[in-house]
Symmetry: D2
Subunit: 422 residues, 4 copies
């Protein structure tokens, strides 16, 4: 553990960029850091979450922040983090679309840029020692700025022993004029950005407990979703969404952020993308989480489908292996790592053929592919047709199978011999 009282920043200063949320914990940390002798720059990322940034800014200023920075990172989140995930069909452990994991390196980049601009030698955050966020923040910081120092109060005994429970934190808040939350804390914790909202902890920690009614904030309950399906058509170029047309809406959306928002709106309205899973954290614990990821669920389905049309079978197999690795890297906070750089580049390379359109129907929580087309693809309607022979000799299949059977027939022979031996 770094002994924070002895750390000295670059330029002799002790300046720290704090990932500030406006909530009780990071407000207390803001004050506590000043007590330890730091100048605090409060940093907030606008990632599309519902939040009163102005109120949070005022609060941070009142609590003594040297500076408060609210950075609009929504476009960067979509273009630099979500689009590569779409290209990679990223999914962690078959079910989690990485909504939080994609946002973390985006925030980290913003914080490190801020630290450089303001010559701050320290980064601080309010994440605890059991979760993935601490890892994603800190690995990202170390990777982008190897000499940066991290102050993570919830892992620093001098902090967490001082605040063993909520009561001590409340006392401290009262003492320092930090406003206490007016609404009672939800019995779970939430992380939100434009990609998804996640729910974990509290009553959700029992994996047998059913998701509480009304917990989801982003998507309509499928049971209350419209009775009429919604059609939409997504267009991709090199595996990246370049346009969306929502049936009944005349305008074709082509701006990256607007594409994402439009798809998100359709998904949210129709209750798409809710999952309830148990996952394996990087630190080796299993945890239970609820996620709602409307837009990315639709985008992934569409991309996967177009890829199947355009990409060679064997390339696809290799790509699928790389995708699994890439998803693990993102989950584990390794966005800024040599292996991520490598896999991302490989994935991007195989996306050059993934150009075309997919039409989907969205209805009561589900996404149904309706059809797909591409200006150029490996799908050869004439060749596959049972009605035309084309450039295909049926008898060739005879030899193909006979040769593939050589090995199997030998094996049978050996098995019989082995059985006789034993």
């Amino acid at each position: 553990m770094e002994d924070v009282s002895k750390q000295t920043g670059q330029n002799g200063s002790k300046r720290v960029v704090l990932a500030y949320s406006g909530g009780l914990d990071t407000s207390c940390i803001l004050v506590w850091l000043q007590e330890q002798g730091y100048e605090v720059i409060a940093f907030m990322a606008n990632l599309g979450q519902e939040e009163d940034f102005d109120a949070a800014r005022d609060k941070a200023n009142k609590l003594g922040a040297k500076e408060v920075i609210v950075q609009d990172l929504r476009r960067s989140l979509v273009e630099d983090y979500v689009w590569p995930a779409v290209q990679g069909d990223l999914i962690y452990e078959d079910r989690y679309l990485l909504g939080t994991a994609l946002a973390r390196p985006c925030i980290t980049r913003g914080m490190i840029d801020t630290a450089r601009r303001h010559q701050a030698g320290y980064i601080s955050h309010g994440a605890t020692g059991k979760g993935n966020d601490q890892i994603r923040f800190e690995l990202g910081c170390y990777a982008l700025s190897p000499d940066i120092k991290i102050i993570a109060p919830w892992k620093d005994p001098s902090f967490y022993r001082r605040f063993p429970g909520r009561k001590e934190l409340f006392d401290y808040a009262k003492l320092h004029g930090i406003p206490l939350p007016v609404t009672p804390k939800a019995p779970w914790s939430i992380d939100a950005n434009l990609v998804h909202v996640s729910y974990e902890s509290g009553i959700l920690e029992n994996p047998a407990t059913h998701p509480p009614c009304g917990i989801y904030e982003m998507t309509t309950d499928p049971e209350k979703a419209p009775d009429v399906p919604q059609m939409l058509t997504l267009t991709f170029q090199n595996g990246i969404p370049t346009a969306v047309s929502v049936a009944g809406d005349a305008t074709k959306v082509v701006d990256c952020l607007e594409i994402f928002n439009a798809v998100n709106r359709v998904g949210a309205q129709h209750g798409v993308g809710r999952v309830d899973i148990v996952e394996n954290r990087f630190i080796g614990l299993k945890s239970r989480g609820l996620y709602e990821t409307p837009g990315l669920t639709i985008l992934r389905a569409a991309h996967l489908d177009l890829e199947a049309l355009c990409m060679d079978r064997e390339v696809r197999k290799i790509k699928a292996h790389l995708s699994t690795k890439m998803a693990e890297q993102v989950y584990n906070g390794l966005w800024y790592s040599p292996e991520f750089e490598f896999t991302r580049k490989c994935i991007a390379d195989c996306q050059k053929v993934v150009t075309g359109s997919v039409t989907l129907k969205v209805y009561k929580g589900n996404v149904y592919i309706q059809g797909r087309s591409a200006p150029v693809s490996l799908y050869n309607e004439e060749l596959v047709s049972m009605d035309t022979q084309g450039d295909y000799e049926p008898s060739d299949a005879h030899g193909f199978i006979r040769i593939n059977a050589v090995r199997l027939r030998e094996y049978q022979r050996v098995k019989n011999a082995l059985d006789k031996l034993s």
Copy 2:
């Protein structure tokens, strides 16, 4: 190509077991084989498909079949083929649950057993030279019985040149008293068993064409499915379904075939498991298929969820790799291969911990996990809880991250150096 006119079976006889469907093609083949001098045993597998087996039996008898065998393989299909697929979470190319591919080795086993019992040296089938079925049938036959000879008329020039179109086949049918189909042929082809129904060819060959309204035969259209969700609870032992309780139904089903049927019924009623995909066939063609797989879709979701609760993260990664291989093996007709034996055994081994229950909600085509529990699992509620410290020292995470960052920080150093060099 085998020259069928010169083949001689075991025991001097020319006896052939024909995979008979009762349709026009295999009826013509039944007659044609006799013309070539074969004694034909017509074989039909009852895999739970809708079919009038008695009518087909009569037809085959009338057309000169030496013997007609209808084998009820439903229980074997579930126990010996579907359950291993559930254990393996098998899915081909991210979307296809292998409904046809699982049935083929079950049929093949039945046919080879029949051939042995009746001392037949030949197997015949009506599959064409472009599809997967020919491969699955023939590889299975060669593997189970290395000396068997295969007669595949649609790949035999002496047959397919004689019947270049439907007209020639109709003429041949009329000539030999083979009843012509009374209903016009559907503009697509269908394969059905208790696991799924698949649709391909014909108007579906254009991948942009939307699935025709009313094409699906097994599942209710989600838009017409009940407005009230259905809850059900599945229990697994060693990764194999051992019981299902459907809410509102007092009886707990524990027989393997009945479990599958009960889950299938719920899924079908609520429109679960419809997909429309482009896939890569073993022979290297891309083809478009529609599938509806209600029960297996639910079973897979439940198994995947319980596995996440019970199985170690690193075991899971290795298992996921093996599952991908196993799905490819099944798709490619390699059920009776050394590699399938090996992967299946490995998968079964890691399932010993997958014991417990999962509760799901099924609604309008979708499956929602509600909760899961296991008598013993790696999920440790106390350890993961943010509210209890348990046996966990937050400061350990500091070292964990610092050490994981060693490599990243070095890489950053090198990148800077490389940039300066170039």
Copy 3:
């Protein structure tokens, strides 16, 4: 099987490019093809093998070849085929360095270019139906020129039934003035190029038979190799050899072909690179082969070593997986395939850091790495040193291990519980 008597080439002509070796088989094929009505262009690739190209040219001309082309492909073999193999550390089934498999696509490219230049619609070769060569030639041809037609007499019943044994071939040769071999045929078959010599078939087919004394043609018997070791230093840039200095030889070699030849000479003189293996052919047979690959053995050892110095651990793991795939692709004749294009590009991308030098000692069949260095590498002597603490806090390792143990300790807990249950 193509019915060669009915094939018609582009432009109405029946012109064929024949892979001609000058030996009995391809000489007979040269004549036979003319009998079938083809104009034959005899093609020979100079890949550095010991061969009297002028004599072969005369022979082909005398036997009626329309044209004889001897193409010097040595430089292309090294630059376009061997160097990518070095970058990929390619090895098939842990032991075979792919000496033949790398040469085949090089020859194929030459033949297809020749066919295009001469408007020939056919390619012919003398490879048999059991080996890998037929596959490598034909897949390459089809990939480079999808409409090309292949004439493979040894797989064409009209040819192989006419020549069921050597006697019939000899008779045919005598009849057509084809010179018979003066020396008795070696009791094994040989393939040679500058990369390696391979030996298989004949008496080697028994896998228990020891390699006959004196069989190897390229390398000195290690037991007769010099008693004094040879030092040499190899330099790589982006994973590609760019220079070699052989100790005792003042000149530093920098030309790609000369580098390969220089390393080859050292290896051959010191008996490096002999292996005796059983391998799995693409068609599913196991075969036994002897190989001697002096230069590439040294180059692979050096490259592997430098890569270990320069490449990140996790990138290396992903690369190793890709390398295995790439080696299989090359072995199976898939050089000109989408998957090879993809893996090769990925591999090349990760080689950007593999720049530096390796010093090796070569002695009596073995290669010993002596040391390596790189202008920029991830090896940090100060950090790894046990004597300096550098930027490293030993106590961090405590947390690292504790967190890695979280999962293991949980597993132990579960195992105990499972044991109690069962």
Copy 4:
């Protein structure tokens, strides 16, 4: 970091099992632990290394050890740790045979058993915070005994700040009557057991430095090895060595420890198994090491060869993937992990066919396979023979290749279309 002064063992005692080497460091630790209030049980494992265990025992007793235990683990090392490595063909990063990594879990098991027997709640060792040993020891301990407490002085600031250099350690030794080393410390560190000797640190830390003359202790310098090769024959059952016959030696060795020792002697005498590598440690550092592993190098070559004869190609591919994982697990100290249990079981399962014999020639540092045989294997001499047709139709290969080319020809078509588009 555990605060050792406050730890209390099971039964109220503070009893610790110390991995004692007899050297200066662990002798100081032995004394220091007593100063901290612990009862120390000194534990030494006899793994076949050259060591005066009696002298070490006396020394430990004199320094106050409550008990000294020397456990002969040689047989267990071979049977329980080396044999699974042989079955798996384990190799880390293509070159390291894991000689140290295999010994660590063997020692750990011995220490944990000792701790249980003596009701000790603590384990202590002298490994530092940069190496792999600390991880292998500690992960093994935590896995085998989740509640065990580890005292690792070189990672404990209260120890390593007290002994910042060798001088302080010498002073402490003098003060407590700990004998100082009489011979000057080698400028590198050594780890030895019957499997291998490793050398690292000190002057070896510069990766460009050539291995010092005379550094290797276990193997003869190849340049001084016998001029006459040694033949030997190894027999395996289920992938495990069951006998060795060394040419010129009448006795066939069949005891597991004696087999290993016999092969080791041949390897050592002929200078087999020396490597000089840069490897990636678990903690993310690159380090340079020299290893000599004579016997295991021979055993691995023989096993790999027999496996190629007996194992199906596709099983082999899956097995190779699992082997890579298993080697990483062993290297990273995860012998007692769920994933190791799983991979080891899978590997053992596929070894059932690996039964037979391999004859090898060992000469001047190299191992040459001479031939192999198996009572039952997939190698079919008749089938592969170019001279017999067997059960093989050459024309089948035509169809095999044509079908494999379907995909490649389509790709070519698409590439041309894509080129025209762009």
